[in-house]
Structures are given as structure tokens and as C-alpha cells.
Amino acid sequence: MSSESRESSEQETAENETPVESQTATKELQTVESVVIRFCGDSGDGMQLAGTQFTNVSAVFGNDVSTLPDFPAEIRAPAGSLFGVSGFQLCFSSGDIYTPGDEVDTLVAMNPAALKTNLADLKRGGTLIVNEDAFDKSNLGKAHYDSNPLDDESELASYRVHKVPMTRLTRDAVDGLGLSVREADRCKNFFALGLVYWLYERDSKPTEEWVKSKFGKYPSVLEANLRALKAGFNFGFSTEQFTVHYEVPAAQLEPGRYRKVTGNEAVAMGLVTAAKLAETELFYGGYPITPASDILHELSKLKRFGVRTFQAEDEIAAITSVVGAAFGGALAVTASSGPGIALKGEGIGLGVIMELPMVIVDVQRGGPSTGLPTKTEQSDLFLTYFGRNGDCPMPVIAARSPADCFAMAQEAVRIAVEFMTPVFLLTDGYIANGAEPWKIPEVDGMYRVKVRHPTESNGNGHGFQPYMRDENLVRPWAIPGTPGLEHRLGGLEKSDGSGNVSYDPDNHQQMTKIRSQKLDKIAESIPDQEVDGSESGDLLVISWGGTYGAVKSACAASRRQGKSVAHCHLQYIHPFPRNLGEVLSRYKKVLIPELNSGQLWIIIRAHFLVDAVSMSKVKGKPFLIGELCDKIDEVLES
């Protein structure tokens, strides 16, 4: 986890002292706790595939894993260009991990552009593996290198550099299979993968199985990929270039059955689970947008779970179809990202005044406007908190990791249905595309949302009163098809009780108050805020959303150095947990790191009048643990 603990143990095994028993014994094997690898290359180089395969074999082996794909916004940027670089980072560990890692231990760069855009993240002393065949004049030019950096000793002096002629070796390996040069070259990601499999003592069997199932119909491609994989492995094994390789023992994860989930997959499964357990149907209206589209893709496959999906003509139709479906009694959901949520605002306001349950997932990305579609940010908090006309309060909750999306999606459904309100669930590009092991839960004992559609009129002979409320200020979810409960909803202000259109000034005041008080009622239904670390002390660091892992790790690292630093991670942002104000008061200082310009910071200051400090980063990249630790020290010393 922390870099200082990485290079531990068993350093000096007998090197070349005894006669060679097995060939592996010729190379030193070091045990390390945690490793961060990044594969990067052209967007057509198969880096996501290589990264995913490495993740799978590590997970199957028993490591804790966390991944962060990083791909360009362009579908196919020109080959070799700086903006066409695609990367996949993963961290695997024998301990618990909470982030895909900070600094990179091993960087695999398939061309000059990949090297140029990623080298800064490689730690000093880290391993750099490059495909030296790709460092030709043309590629160097596209990457704006004046000269070949591989020839420049000083440029790469801080790293353990391995120049590997991957293109040539891959071509040699697949020779005789009748592949075109182009087809042969496409196998070089498997060569790179094989090499790092050797480097980290990974068992390549799961990948071989995958290749067989994937390319079964194309025997020559299948064989080529297997040969490239093996060639990469053997290259590490036999060449003089590599003298050390590493093992990362299995982690001590809680026993049980696991699978890997991305945030978007977990959101989809959480929604389906909530609907299924509530014995109701799920309606999903969506419009494709990065990085939220996979929620639509996942749900579209799951019709047998009672899911109806609707790919709308635009974001506005997506949200308004959800309004219609919610009126009809479906568990209605949409997901989008910032630009789409902005378009959805009016429809969401309609949902709020009509007090219909619906879930709106905002998978945040860099903004404003189209911003950085494939990069992560947390800057839609204001949009979700305030971004509608009128006083229009609605609950905002946020998932903290890919696996947490499963629980939070169900929680969003619970709040929506039990309190008859639209609910925002915030995730982000980092959570949505990132993956982590998920302990497969037992269905028995999961919370079942109770859906109630009344069948009897509540009007005591005066007709159905759609806005007559219970003790939680919740109105009944009567649905079309129910005789005697015919009623009209709409965007005009309602008369409390009857739901008739009302311009009465006192009624508007009252209804505005009720809509706000509903949030207070929701606060009574959510857990108290917990704190990681001591109950009181010098510093409380507050985080929300996808920065959970980095902030948790940084706070833990600070505590290990004897500092009084507690961590409070918010999953409920509107309403806040009822005890949050009291929690804040127990610490001398409060620091709020966010991947925006301080949005939670402003809300916390406004709510609690605490002189919290903001830490803001908007680079389209997650926080590094190191930079958080530095900021913690700075605040403690100030």
C-alpha cells in the first residue's frame, strides 16, 4: 500500500551460487506486498485487454485488485498520436487496497507517445518496459520527440529500462501461421502480457483459457495469441535483460466467493436487485453518454429480471419517460453524466413537485460543458444539489467505490420509494470504469423495499386525495388502472391534500416547506456518520464519492506516523447524517479534499459554520495518496 513497505523481505536469495536446479532459480525472486502496473499504448494496441487479463489472473490468484482504465475520448485517434494513448492501471496486493495505486511501479509503454504521456507517473527506480521497435522516426515525430529518448541515457537514468523489440519478436513467434503483418502485430499486447506475467509470477492459464474461448473459431488467431503470450513469458525467463522478478502473495481477503465488478455493473445489479426484491418492474430510460452508457448496456441484457429499457431520443426524453413510468408504478431509473443531467433538470423538477419516486444516477466526468468526457471529476455536486429551478430539494447520495455502487443503488431505490421523491446517486468515471473484487452477497437477508400502491380512496367520500400525507410526509403512490383513485398530477403547484392546482400564497409556502421537511424525514432513516480514526483530535478529513480509497489510505498513513487524523467519508450528502455537525465539532481542524473547486466545502461551511479547509484538484485524475498526505501535514502545521 504505502510505498515504503513495498520492497520488503527475502531480498538476498542465493543468486547464481549453486548449480542451476531449475531455470527459474537463475533469477532472483523478490516478494513485494503491492504492485502498480500500467499498460499504455495506442488506443488500438489492446491495452485495456492486457490490463483486464492481468487483473483477472491476479484476482483468481487471490490478490486484492483495483483498476483504473484511462482511455482517450476519440474512438480511434491517429495511431501514435499523443491524444490517442490508452492506458490501463491496476494495483494488486497481498493486503487490502482502496485505490488503483498512486505511483506506477512498472510501466509498459508500447510506443513513444505512450512513454511521453505516462512516464511522469512512473516512480523513481521503477521498471520501464518499452517496445523499442515502435520508436521509429515516424512515431517519434508524432510524439513530438526531437530525438529517441531510448538513446538518451540521462532521460531514463532514474528507471530500470528494458528495451524489448516486441514487434519483431511477436512477428517471429507467429511466423508460419499465415497471418498478415497487421494481424501479427496485433498480437504484441499478448507478448507484453506474457512478459509481465513472467515478471510477476502470474499463472497465464486463465488467460490461455480466455483466448481459447474467445478465438475458438479462428484457429490461427488463437494460436498466434498463445504463441505471443508464451514468447513474452519466455523472453523474460531467458534473456539477460531481466535479473529480478517478483511475487505478490495472496491477500487475506474475507473468505467467500468473489467476482470483479465495475461501478457501472454494480449500479445495474443493485437496481435489478432492489426491483426484484421489491417484486416490481424496473423501467430504465436512458440516452448514451460517457461514462454512464454501460448502465444502459447492462440493464438491457436483464429483461428476464423484469427490466424494460428505453433508449430515448435525448436526455430530456430519457428523464421524462422515467416520469411517465414512475406515474405508471414502475421503479423508474435513468443515468447520465453532467451534460445530460443538466438537460434533465426540468424533468427532475417535475418529479419533485409530483412527488414521484425515481432514481437518477450521475456518473460524473470532467466539466463544464462537454469537458473531459473520459476523465473523472466530482464537480456535479452543485448541479445535483441545487441544479433545478425553484426551491427544489432532493436527496443526493454518493457511492465510494465500484463494489459500493451495488449497495448505494439499492439505497437510492429505498429512499425514492419510501419517501416518494426523485433521488440522485452520484458516482464518477473512476468508480464507473474501475473494478474491484466484490464479495458475492447472499440474497437472503437483503433489504426489501416495500412498494405500496393504494387501492382504496383516502378521501372519506371527497374523492381521492393524492397529496394526503403520512407521518413521514409521504403521499400515496396511486397508479393508473386503480378504480376510484383517478387523479391528475402536474408541474403546477399543488394544493396540499387534494393535489388540485393552487396559486394560494400560503399553500405555496406550506408546500415548499413540506418538500424541504421531507429531507429531514429522510435524515431520520439513514445511519449516523461514522469516523475512521479517533473520536476527536487535531484533524478530520472529509471525503465523498470516489476519493474514498485515496483519502482513507492517506489518513491511515498519517496516523501510522503518529498524527491525529480521522477520516469521515460521506455517503449521504443531502440530507447529511443527523450527527454530522456534532462529529465536526470534535476536531480542531477540518480538511475537505475534492476533485472539484470545493463544492462540498462550501456546503459544509454554509451548513455548519466551520472553518473547513478546501483541497481542490481538477486535472481529470484521482488524488494521489502522497499529495493528500502532504496536504494533511500542511494543514496540521498551519
Binding site: 426484484k276 426484491l277 418492474e281 428476464r304 440474497v443
Partner: protein
Amino acid sequence: MSADTSLPVLTQKDFASDQEIRWCPRCGDYSILAQMKKVLPTLGIPRENIVFVSGIGCSSRFPYYMSTYGMHSIHGRAPAIATGLKVARPELTVFVITGDGDALSIGGNHLMHALRRNVDLKIIMFNNQIYGLTKGQYSPTSPLGKKTKSTPFGSVDRPLNPLSIAIGAGATFVARSADVDIKHLTSVLERAAAHKGSAFVEVYQDCNVFNSGAFEFATKKDQKEENCIYLEHGKPLIYGKARDKGVRIDGAGNPDIVNLSDVKEDDLLFHDETTDDPTHAFRLAQMRWPDSPEPMGVFRAIERPTYDGEVDRQFKDCIASQGSGDLDKLFNSGDTWEVKAKS
């Protein structure tokens, strides 16, 4: 409210809500509301299974005046809301009430997509060629040169032809009527309600405050027979008070107004609302008064699978072929691995 029985016999009154109607005196909307209340009891659909969804505008207050389920929503979005409702609850009968501004300006996109998908919706568009609720700006159907508050020197916007739009989008039912043409309107609404698929009905509606008399040509007693052709399936296009004029297609494929004294009836254009080829309906939609007589009635009524029906079919097929979803199986799908307890 009347008590519902298992076999309710509903009347016009059963569909009136207790809300005070707040349209301007003599507004054309009253007539459309009245004809709708007349038509609904004839459909044999329980009141609770009928939903009216509207957008924003004078016409869109309509749902408040009906004792069915209803929603007065936001500007232009009624077709999308209705689509969501109909997909979620295909068994409901869903009407969309909208105006020319609501449907064709702010909501043009949703209208087009509801029609091309053939969602089983009855879309009734009240066209008064003006923005009434916002007090008198020109609308997307206002004629060129129209002087309004926002076009004091005359509008330079070319108007949309709503029926051409509907036919172009692939609507399976397209019709036109006028607010005060009571019998005609009733029959068109009945036909629309009976249609399986998206029905688009344009109703000429008089805004007597901001655009009075815009449709006199099609509503005034002595004028409408001379200015309009009342379409009948399988019949030739004949019109005129004395039924002495007709339409045939000339060599270039264009409508040609002829006197019946000069032409045999068999040479006239015969109306076929069921032809799959939209050319015929489109040609009729292009015939606009005062350049030519204007067709009224059902332009097109064809059968195609509905969107909501197809979604429902896939939904049920998946459950039938794959079995009802099993959460345990879902959670355990993909690559899974076991972490064993340390001994």
C-alpha cells in the same frame, strides 16, 4: 364520482372532473373537450385505464378537466412521458393532448420519435396557429407575414405543415378535423382512439382572443364545403357544396382540380388511407387552402407493430425463454473465484 361496477356503463358526465374550466369564453378547446367526453364512453375502456398526458399551453390544461388519470407536465415533453408510461404499462390507453407550439416547437423532437416508433398513443394536437398562453406570439404553424407581438413587422418564419411532419416521421394514423365541426371531430377522435399505434390528429382550434377566425375557411357553414375535401376511404376526392369539383392527378403527379362536368369520376384520385406508401397521404397533406381545397378526415391509417407492444413481447419472450431472473445466478456470473479461510 360514480361508483364503479364490474361492467360500468359510463356516460359523458362520468368523464368530467370537478375542476372549474378556465379557458377563455368561446375558446375552441371547449368543443374538443366536449367531443372527447362523448367519445370516451363509446370505447368500452374502464375510466381508470385511461390516462391523459399533456405538455404546457392552453390545450394542455385538458387533463385537469377529465376524471381519468392524467398528467399536466412540462413544455413539449408529453410524448416522451407518455412513451415511458405506455412502455411501463402497455395495457393503459394513453392520450397526449398538445398544442401547435408545444408539439412542434419545443417538443418537435419527441413528437417525431413517438410517431416513428409507433408508440400506441393518441396524440391530439390543437392547432390555433398562435401562442395563446403566453399571450399572442406567432407559432410554428403561423403563416408567413403574420403580425404578432413578437413579429410586429410580420413573421419571416416559414410555417410547418403538421401532417407532413407526421407522415414524414412514419405515423401510422394521421387525421385532421376542426373544433366546431362536431360530428366530424367525433368520428375522427373515435377512429384515432380505435387505432392501434400512434395516432396523430390535428384539430383546427379557434383562439378567439389572439387569432380569431384563423380557420373560418374550414369551419364556416357556407365556406367549408367549398374549401375542404372530406376524405372517405375508397371514395374519389369530390368536394364543393354541389359536389361538382374533384381532384385528379396530372401527368407530373400533381393534384389537379377539375370540374366533374369535364371528367369522369373514375379518373379522379381515390382516397386510400391504408396504403403503406406514404406518398398518397403526403400529397394530400400538401394540399392547403387557399391554394387548393384542403383535405379533412383520416389521411392515413395503416397497421404496424407498436413500440410498446414489441418491448413487451421481448420482455415476455426473455422471461419465457430464459426463466425469471435469478439474483444468485446473476451475482455469480462471469469470472468468480473462491477465497478460502486461512487454516
